[in-house]
Subunit: 342 residues, 2 copies
């Protein structure tokens, strides 16, 4: 089985965006605020939005199951207050849940949290628990910068975030550390802010000792870990200067890297530098980079091709990357699959 | 000849730091502000600070000449106002100039600019011209984020920066895009802010069309270009979606990458992905990562070893990386070397 641990619902019916636009327009004007019940999307619409998009590509490329969460760039936690984020997260998570019910063999959910800048993360717990308990979601996306490119929250190692971590440990769910749209003109959303956030998160974990407090906490750092594997020598050296343990002990019991790196040399580096047990297959398809690479004739984000082609992985390694590691890092996914007899 | 295009005066005599501390303490209290003339550092002190540090390592490792600029993390453009930055830049540049006079075969200067958040970059031009004309410097360091991790300036493609670019073109000097200390707790200075800034700068150049306005402008992106080479497929794909030309045309007539990547797999990737004509040898020694890699027994920042060991470069390619490219990208360096008969 091939599990893609990083997919977002980027192809939701347009009614969702229209509802969001109405919500954003109504900020500061409560009487104009749309109700959740005003969003009407039928099962047929949901089914079609998946069948002609993600599911089609999954079949073409040969992956079986996607861990599916709301569109990352649309989370936009910087917009409005907690109440705005809360309604929006609830709607987006419910749609992913419905997709997982319509295609139970192909999709399982991961939750967007109703984060809001300056608001205590513990306010996210009711939505988190609803997604885990009622929707059977297997992970969450945690935005380390709900300000959208201004980085006004404390580092991930700060106690500020501990209420979320306590729930993650309690429910055995990993967090993908994933920012949303940048509203800072310096940072292109998918070209700078996403990648910078990945790098930043890893460096925060090197500086801190978070995993001493939470030995079973698990972070998935998307987009191949930002710059970290390419600069792994720098990070090993910085940890050494800070008198931290070797990164293998200091980070790699708790941090995992996805394979959203869109060319062969990048995947070759990732699989050379990072131990295979810490690499999880992912494509973030249909996402930031949707075109065909003229150098190969294949989709940039068809990352399975790079995994297949790299000389760094054995057949057994590939099985770990495709399935075994995901089942280990996402125990609720493993349990759900076993329940399906898979 | 082996030219290291990225060295900072990180080992300046302690009197410099003491003067800076007095300056910072006197902000808001003009009567306490120290004068430049109160900083006394003799030639013997300068000589020793170099001989037992950078020059010793250059001889051990086999490089001949370093393009030498003030300590990047100490630029701290976010501290004080333009007047504070102006005095500080002037002092720091003068020290690098004096080093270049004491060791004319081994060091040549690149200027720190007296940037200050919210201040028009054209205020930097007098110091820039002084360094080029009076000190024989061959390049500048341009900080895309003088706020120190808050990213309050416009992107590098904005007209805000054009006064600097006009002078760069006039004097045929490249800019290394180099941030300074982060005062944002989210970003570790050398582990996150530096690398993020490199990635950010490249993405800004992909989004914009700066090099249409300045076809001969040259940027050197340090630290191996941040995350960009590792994610080169992503960047090619994003440029494609934005209907930009191929990155080879859109960026690579104007953007160069240094080799400050502190392990073999990183240099292997850089030299595989980026055309050899765009790679300049550098170590940023003595800098962020000063230790010995237990996996190799060698200094992390002894980047020449990685260049020597990579299978991606021929002997002719290595000569380009070590010397030829630097002479081409820094025409004033080439002229200065020719004047020395080199």
């Amino acid at each position: 089985m091939i599990i893609d641990i990083h997919g977002h619902y980027t192809t939701a019916p347009k009614a969702l965006e229209d509802w969001r636009n109405r919500q954003v327009a109504a900020i500061g004007n409560p009487s104009a605020m749309p109700k959740a019940s005003e969003l009407k999307i039928g099962d047929d619409e949901l089914r079609e939005s998946i069948e002609i998009n993600q599911l089609k590509k999954m079949k073409e490329r040969g992956s079986d199951l996607t861990i599916f969460s709301p569109r990352a760039s649309f989370m936009a936690h910087h917009i409005g207050d907690f109440s705005v984020s809360s309604s929006w997260a609830s709607i987006c998570n419910e749609l992913c849940y419905r997709v997982s019910r319509l295609f139970p063999e192909n999709f399982i959910g991961a939750a967007m949290l109703p984060q809001s800048p300056g608001v205590d993360p513990k306010t996210c717990i009711p939505e988190l628990e609803r997604c885990i308990k009622d929707y059977g979601f297997v992970g969450i996306n945690l935005n380390p910068d709900p300000s959208g490119g201004h980085w006004t929250s404390p580092p991930l190692t700060d106690r500020h975030w501990y209420p979320i971590y306590e729930k993650m440990v309690e429910y055995q769910i990993p967090a993908m550390i994933h920012v949303s749209t940048s509203c800072n003109a310096c940072f292109h959303t998918t070209g700078a802010h996403y990648i910078n956030a990945d790098t930043t998160a890893i460096m925060q974990c090197i500086q801190g000792d978070l995993f001493k407090d939470f030995p079973t906490l698990k972070f998935v750092v998307p987009h191949g870990g930002g710059a970290a594997p390419y600069h792994w020598g720098r990070y090993r050296g910085l940890a050494q200067e800070m008198k931290k343990p070797l990164l293998r002990e200091h980070l790699l019991n708790n941090i995992y890297f996805d394979t959203c790196v869109y060319h062969q040399p990048g995947i070759d580096l990732l699989t050379k530098v990072i131990p295979v047990d810490n690499i999880l297959f992912a494509s973030e398809m249909i996402g930031a980079v949707r075109g065909i690479d003229p150098e190969t004739g294949n989709y940039y984000d068809d990352t399975k091709r790079y995994i297949e082609a790299t000389a760094n992985l054995s057949a057994a390694d590939r099985r770990k990357v495709y399935e075994g590691n995901a089942r280990r890092v996402y125990p609720r996914l493993d349990a759900a699959l076993k329940k399906q007899g898979r």
